[in-house]
Every structure is written in structure tokens, then in C-alpha cells.
């Protein structure tokens, strides 16, 4: 039987793997000697696996990033942090279930964790609004970050959203200003901020909790100025050209590392974190710990200056490429 939620491009591989399983069972039951055949198929599967994942396309990565079984913020919190306590509410309007946060321990060190939370089922997704926060989500995140600053705790931000919610109430309550204020305050928050794009890094909704000292991407995540679907619809009036847009927009971890937008790529289990939550979490945990140790040794002024410079330099190199000089 084929597992659920197979991505189209992995189908040949999964089918082959299923076939091997079947044959192995068959061999045991009938006590047949088809070991050579199985070995041959296994080799073929291995080769196929390499072919598929070594030449993976941005559009395919995006599909993995959106995979229903991909670990979400809540999963990583459970797998990485001890004694996690969720905290609720923005003290202004409400509690946004699409953006969660709280405090916990990582190897005994206290941290504040914030992150977009998607659901696992349709029902939970309705409750979580598919990980698309309203202003109160961003304001809750800011409240928790300010609290982290008060107690000198590093902030770990797990980004996983298709975008901030585009809806009537979100606009009425100031979606734009909520995101803008987070950017303003995060640029100067006096504790280390470690950001990891764990799945979808959707535009303003992502950067609204995504400004930090160290910004990392999971191997099969994407980070984009808009969804490729929206980009294709706006620029080419054809949302079915989304795969081409995904290609053109440079949204994958290696592309963004090259552009200097992110600092590091965190490896995932072959084929994506959804294939092995535990392993993905331990890889993520290692990098979070490493970043906390690295950043905690910096003095406040140095930390903030470095953070400012990190963003200040993005785009300050314009004259190098078009022979124009700033006057």
C-alpha cells in the first residue's frame, strides 16, 4: 500500500521502495531465494533517490516545505525544548492561534520561543488559520520578545507561514503596522534573536518575526517575497506559471545563502523533515544551541551593531554593478 501524501516527483522512488518491501515479504513467506533481485532493486532505488534529491527543483522544495506531515512549530518545540510553557495573548485584542509562543529550556538554558503554527488536520488548520497570523499574533510575539529582553533570554523564532492573513479584520486592526513595529523593535532587541525558516517563509508574514542575528533555513524550506503563485499571477497574469516563478525568484536555502539573505542551511533527513521528525529536530536543536552559545558571548552593543550592519549592507552595494555612484 502506498503511503499517503506522496509528492508527484517522488512517486517513482516510493513505488520502487514499496515494491522492494513487497518482494522482501514475499521472499520470507515463500522461502524463495530472490536476494539478488532485491539487491539490484535496492541499488536502483538508491540511485533514483540520489537523482531525485540531488537535482531537486525549487517548486519541488516548496512542495516539501508545505507538506502536510512536515514538523510544525509545535512539533519542534516538543522535540527540542524541555518544560515548555505556552503563553497567550497580546494584551490588546486577543490570542492568535496561528502564532504561538512561550518559554522553555534548551539544555538547561531558558529561552523564549515564538513561531507560526499551522495545523495538522483541516479542523486544526481552521483553528490555526493555516498559519496565517492576524495583527494580534504579531503583537503577542512582540510582547513575548520584550519579556525575553527583560529577563535576558535569547529568542528563538520558528518561521512557517504562507503569509500574514489578508483579511478585513486583519487590515482593520493594523496588520501592516503590527509587522512594521515588530521589525522596528526586533532591530534593537537587546538579546540574541535566532530565526529559523522551518517550512514556508511567506513574505511580510515571515519577516514579521524573522529579523534576527542569525537567520537559518531548513534544507527544504523556502523564503520568498511573495508566493510564486502570486508572483506569476501579478507579473505574468498566469498563476499556473508558479513553478517558473519559483525558479526565477531565488527562494531556496542555497540561493538565499548565496545572496547573503540567510546565514546557514540546516540539513534535513533525505527527502524532508517529515520522513523523520526526531532526526530533523535533533539537527535543528544542534544549530540553535550553537547559535545561542555563539551570540551569548557578545556584548549588548556589539550584538546590536552587528545586527544593524547585517541588514544595512543588504542593497548598499548598488554602485558596484551599474557604474553609478551615489552623489
Amino acid at each position: 500500500m502506498m503511503p499517503n501524501n506522496i509528492l508527484e516527483f517522488e512517486k517513482p522512488l516510493i513505488e520502487l521502495q514499496e515494491k522492494i518491501k513487497e518482494l522482501q515479504q514475499f521472499m520470507q513467506e515463500k522461502d524463495l531465494d530472490i536476494g539478488d533481485e532485491i539487491m539490484r532493486l535496492k541499488n536502483r532505488a538508491h540511485k533514483l533517490e540520489q537523482e531525485i534529491y540531488n537535482s531537486i527543483k525549487p517548486w519541488q522544495i516548496l512542495q516539501i516545505a508545505r507538506h502536510q506531515e512536515r514538523p510544525n512549530t509545535g512539533d519542534y518545540i516538543n522535540l527540542i525544548f524541555d518544560d515548555y510553557i505556552e503563553l497567550h495573548g497580546d494584551r490588546l485584542y486577543g490570542d492568535d492561534q496561528a502564532l504561538i509562543g512561550g518559554i522553555g529550556l534548551i539544555e538547561g538554558k531558558p529561552v523564549t520561543i515564538i513561531g507560526n503554527q499551522k495545523g495538522k488536520s483541516t479542523r486544526e488548520n481552521l483553528q490555526r488559520n493555516f498559519g496565517m497570523a492576524h495583527p494580534e499574533g504579531y503583537r503577542k510575539a512582540l510582547r513575548l520578545m520584550k519579556q525575553a529582553e527583560k529577563f535576558n533570554r535569547p529568542v528563538v523564532s520558528l518561521v512557517n507561514t504562507p503569509g500574514a492573513y489578508p483579511g478585513i479584520e486583519a487590515e482593520e486592526r493594523g496588520q501592516a503596522v503590527a509587522i512594521a513595529e515588530n521589525l522596528l523593535e526586533m532591530s534593537d532587541l537587546a538579546v540574541p534573536i535566532i530565526v529559523i525558516i522551518i517550512g514556508e517563509g511567506g513574505s511580510g508574514g515571515a519577516i514579521g518575526i524573522g529579523l534576527g542575528d542569525k537567520v537559518m533555513m531548513m534544507e527544504y524550506s523556502y523564503y520568498s517575497v511573495s508566493t510564486p503563485e502570486a508572483c506569476a499571477a501579478i507579473l505574468w497574469k498566469d498563476s499556473s506559471k508558479a513553478p517558473e516563478a519559483a525558479e526565477a525568484m531565488s527562494i531556496t536555502a542555497p540561493d538565499l545563502l548565496k545572496l547573503g539573505i540567510v546565514d546557514k542551511i540546516i540539513k534535513e533527513p533525505r527527502g524532508g523533515a517529515h520522513k523523520n521528525h526526531g532526526k530533523a529536530a535533533s539537527m535543528l536543536k544542534k544549530e540553535i544551541l550553537h547559535s545561542i552559545n555563539e551570540l551569548s558571548s557578545l556584548h549588548r552593543e556589539e550584538l546590536l551593531q552587528r545586527r544593524y550592519d547585517k541588514y544595512r549592507k543588504i542593497g548598499s552595494f548598488t554602485d558596484k554593478f551599474n557604474n553609478a555612484q551615489s552623489s
Binding site: 500574514a164 492573513y165 489578508p166 483579511g167 478585513i168 486583519a170 487590515e171 482593520e172 486592526r173 493594523g174 496588520q175 501592516a176 503596522v177 509587522i179 512594521a180 513595529e181 521589525l183 522596528l184 523593535e185 532591530s187 534593537d188 513574505s203 511580510g204 519577516i207 514579521g208 524573522g210 529579523l211 523564503y223 520568498s224 517575497v225 511573495s226 502570486a230 508572483c231 501579478i234 507579473l235 517558473e244 526565477a248 525568484m249 531565488s250 527562494i251 538565499l256 545572496l259 539573505i261 545586527r307 544593524y308 541588514y311 544595512r312 543588504i314 542593497g315 548598499s316 548598488t318 554602485d319 554593478f321 551599474n322 553609478a324 555612484q325 551615489s326 552623489s327
Partner: protein, 289 residues
């Protein structure tokens, strides 16, 4: 007086009608059809009225230079950063052509002009965005020029005024565009710490990454009547919720009502209003600083 300044900019109407070749009615350099009430307005009259429909008060969009001319004192403008251009950082299909097209069409190097100027004698740093240049979108050059304007304001202590208009972040520069939101917002934090006055005037339309960064972070936010101000554009919202939007949704008056902006000011009063704010502010700034 304003009329005289405006008179210099003969291309105002020419440009406007050129853009609208779709509509035969407007493809005439003598008169323009109001986009709102459809009144036929003589261009001379429209220019005298600062590109506001005399019948219904609809505020036509202005080019950056026209905006500059009706806002700052004559001969006071000293431009900086004028040669800063974006670049095709991602090798994005069609971007270079579109960029060149925009430059030819607008005569601008980018979707924004920046400089030092005076408003009723009060020195300011001013930045004005232009929607005609790739939808006023913020790519690395716009982000860089805005940050430079902020740094100029910090270094000189002069109030910073930004006239905003944008469709959002510039898609063709991908994540580099999105990062300009972080860059400009971080610069505002420094501006705030330096105690520099920051005013934004959100003009039609201001949306996306521009609204969700520097445009919303000013000490005082002004808008013109009827200006669309949004995070997500109305079309996107309509698609998402699959329902029609309330009357006046995301217009300047709606934002005022919801506490998102300080005031809605008609174009003809805008310069005066700015000068009063600058006057009150200047009265509090010690001379020996």
C-alpha cells in the same frame, strides 16, 4: 503661487494622457476625464487645482517631481543619491527591459527621489516615491535611498518627510526587496533614538511591504483623501475571503476611523499643514544644539 510652480511642469498632463491611451477620451492633451466622477476637466483647470478634480475632489496621482514642486520652497531642493539604481540581482526574466522602460517613461532613475529642501523656510530631508516607476515598488535601490534619507536626517537633525506610494516590495528582486523592510525599519529605530521628527504622507496607493515597514512607523502619518492604504491589496483580500468588501474599505478615511493614521489632508492644504507641524516641532528644538 503654487499654480506658478506647477506651470513649469508642462509635462504633467502630457504624461498623464500618454499613460491612458487605453481610454480614447483621455488621449487628448486638452482635457482629462476624472477617474472617479467621470467629469471632463480641462487640463489647465486640473493643473491649477493641483490635479484634484474640481467637481468631486478626486486626487489624481502625482509624479514625484510634481509632488516635489507643490511641496517644497522654490529652488530649495538639493537632490542626493540620484544615481543609485537597482540591478537585476536575480537575472529575473524581463526585469531589465521593464526597468529601462520605466526609466524612459518617467525620466527617473528609480521609484523615488530624495533630497534636502525647505518647506515654508523649515529645512527638511524629503523623499518622494513615484507610482509610475514599476508601481513604486521597493527594491534595493528604493530601500537604500530611504535608508540614506534617514541617515541624512539623523546626521543633520532635520525632520524627515516621506511621501509614500507603492504596490509593495519589488517582486523581481525577490528576497533582497523583502529585506529592505528590515533595513529601513532598523534605520528608523536609530532615527527615533536621535530624536528626529519623521512624517509620512501616504498617497494613493500605499500597500504591501512599504505599508508594513517604514510608512507605518512615522511619528505623524498623514494621508490624502481617498488614498488606498493597505497591507494586502483589496483584490487579494476579496479572493481570500471570497466576499465583497465594505464600502470605503482601506481608504484613508477608513484608516483614520480605525486609528491607523493621524489625519486626512486635502492636497491644497498639505503644505500648510506640514509647515505648521514643522513650526511646532522647531519651537521645541533648542537653538544651541
Amino acid at each position: 503661487m503654487l499654480k506658478d510652480l506647477f506651470g513649469k511642469q508642462k509635462y504633467v498632463t502630457v504624461k498623464r494622457t500618454k499613460e491612458k491611451t487605453k481610454n480614447k477620451d483621455e488621449d487628448n492633451s486638452l482635457w482629462t476625464k476624472c477617474r472617479d466622477c467621470e467629469e471632463i476637466i480641462f487640463n489647465k483647470k486640473l493643473i491649477e487645482n493641483l490635479m484634484v478634480c474640481p467637481k468631486c475632489g478626486y486626487h489624481f496621482r502625482l509624479t514625484a517631481w510634481d509632488r516635489l514642486h507643490i511641496t517644497v520652497d522654490e529652488d530649495s531642493f538639493k537632490e542626493f543619491g540620484k544615481n543609485i539604481k537597482s540591478r537585476d540581482i536575480l537575472d529575473f526574466p524581463g526585469y531589465q527591459e521593464k526597468y529601462e522602460e520605466a526609466r524612459v517613461k518617467t525620466g527617473l532613475q528609480e521609484a523615488i527621489i530624495c533630497g534636502e529642501a525647505a518647506i515654508c523656510g523649515y529645512p527638511v530631508v524629503i523623499a518622494i516615491m513615484d507610482f509610475n516607476f514599476l508601481g513604486g515598488s521597493m527594491g534595493l535601490a528604493v530601500g537604500e535611498k530611504i535608508t540614506l534619507a534617514m541617515e541624512k536626517a539623523i546626521n543633520t537633525g532635520k525632520p524627515l518627510i516621506i511621501f509614500c506610494t507603492a504596490g509593495g516590495a519589488r517582486m523581481q528582486e525577490g528576497m533582497v526587496s523583502l529585506m529592505q523592510m528590515a533595513k529601513t525599519s532598523a534605520a528608523i529605530k536609530r532615527l527615533n533614538k536621535a530624536g528626529v521628527l519623521f512624517i509620512t504622507v501616504m498617497t494613493d496607493p500605499t500597500s504591501g511591504g512599504v505599508t508594513a515597514s517604514f510608512a507605518s512607523l512615522a511619528d505623524i502619518i498623514i494621508s490624502e483623501p481617498g488614498a488606498l492604504i493597505a497591507f494586502a491589496g483589496p483584490r487579494v483580500i476579496k479572493q481570500t475571503i471570497n466576499a465583497s468588501l465594505p464600502e470605503g474599505f482601506q481608504r484613508a478615511e477608513f484608516l483614520l476611523e480605525h486609528g491607523m493614521i493621524d489625519m486626512v489632508v486635502e492636497r491644497k492644504n498639505l503644505k500648510d499643514k506640514l509647515s505648521i507641524i514643522l513650526k511646532v516641532h522647531a519651537a521645541g528644538v533648542s537653538n544651541d544644539a
